[in-house]
Amino acid sequence: MSRSHVVGDTYAVTTRNLIAYRRVPELLVFSTIQPVLFVLLFRYVFGGAINVPGVDYVDYLMPGIFAQTVVFGAIGTAVGLANDLQSGLIERFRSLPMARSAVLTGRTLADLVRNVFVLALMCVVGVLVGWNAGNTVGGFIAAMALLLLFGYACTWIFASVGLAVRDAETAQAAAFPVMAPIVFASSAFVPVSSMPGWLQGFAKYQPLSVVCTASRDLLLGTNTGGHWVLGALAWCIGIIVISAPLAVLRYRRSA
């Protein structure tokens, strides 16, 4: 398998997955409606009751929304792969002389591109509700890059889920209970200090919280020493290093 085939095949599969997003816009709409509702809910309903010292609540909230959006969006990776397994498309791919890796990387890269669109849309929503979009352009770009990397890491976890369950409904049903604690027992919407002591340790250092805190630091220019950013990078890379080979292994086995 020559290198040019790996690149060409990955590109072909990525494009194919992106066409599906374009042709079934519901997929994108559903993955943005929920975070938009969360923005409205937390900005206007709960926000008044949540006290975050030293920062406007909306500036605290938006990085949490972004992180939550890319995590939930990763369900799309599982759903996409489960659908491809179910429809027999993966079986056909296995019988083709294409690069073995292209099915999974083409999927996760398409979902990375999708995340760029979804995050851009959420930024617009944020600005509309008064988010300041960061103090520096560099900080903004760095925060978005970090969130995209985090989203990319999540898609690898959910690639395994999609290959394991083999049907889209199950993928969705299986994903939610796993995601809920990660999304809600976190610093995404409320400061960890408001939580019971036994939960604080988990809530503060679990990956989504670390990514949220790091994004806030980058956007607001706080804590420029950056140990949260390093922590977030470590989480993302750690997740990819572990979950990508697992997904590849699953792909090799699931026939």
């Binding site: 194919r16 066409i19 429809s87 027999g88 056909r92 019988s95």
Partner: protein, 327 residues
Amino acid sequence: MTTPEGRSDAIVVEGLVKRFGDVVAVDGVSLRGERGKVLGLLGPNGAGKTTTVRVLTTVLSADAGRVEVLGHDVRRDPQTVRTIIGLAGQFAAVDPNLTGRENLRLIGRLTHLPKATVGPRADELLERFGLVDAANRPVRTYSGGMRRRLDLAAALVHRPPVLFLDEPTTGLDPASRLGLWELIEELLAEGTTVLLTTQYLEEADRLADHIVVIDKGRVIAEGAPTDLKATLGNTVAEFGFADTATAAAAATAAAPFAVRPPTVAGTAVHVELADGAHALLEVLRALDLGGTAPEALAVREPSLDDVFLSLTGHHAVDDADTGEGAR
């Protein structure tokens, strides 16, 4: 290409075993597909047809046995095998969100056709399969038959010399089925080797040069369609009479010439004869002498269904209808 044995077999399977947990899906199947011919794999639900095809197409790995396509071992050299095979699986494997044209182009790119030929090849196949009008519609909107045709087109994109078709006409109406048969015959004329699985005896009879009958993961018979019928079957004569009494009397009169006691169903009598024309003449003479001349007569070669019945003790088609719950 000639295999080490010196025969021009495009497909070689020897002692193939594939288990899924406790289920032995394929239990020591051996078969050979001659180059440029159609090998028919015939068997009821759960016989192991799809599993055999999936091993041959490198989708599954075997637990035991030797499997080669055009001399390339599927285990040692799967990537080469993939360049020379086309697979149209049991269920159409096309992307519902892409258009027909996009589907074929995707396969063209993934089989590494030269860039400039990807588009023209897709258009050529759309034309050939009567999908030009639907070419730019998402496959989601296609009928089952259209999907099947597109799926077969997808298997042909890179002009594979060996083609695997898993129940290609299941779920097609009679006209589409006929169209597909003609298409397969065209591919044969172009020199393609085909392995075709089917539950339809008529289909194997019409298309296959050599038939392997499998049941419960084992080969239970094989041969050319005519040989299979000749070794196992007899001539079947169906008589129709004016009334049931005559029918009963005729059955008794015909009995000495039949290989087993004739069966009577109302006014119809079913007689199986050992050597076609001669025995038939004897029966007719006896009926005429006995004053029980038939009103209607149909003589037919035994169908593959008759063959299947005598091999397995159950009808192939009935078995298919009751599905896997039956075993």
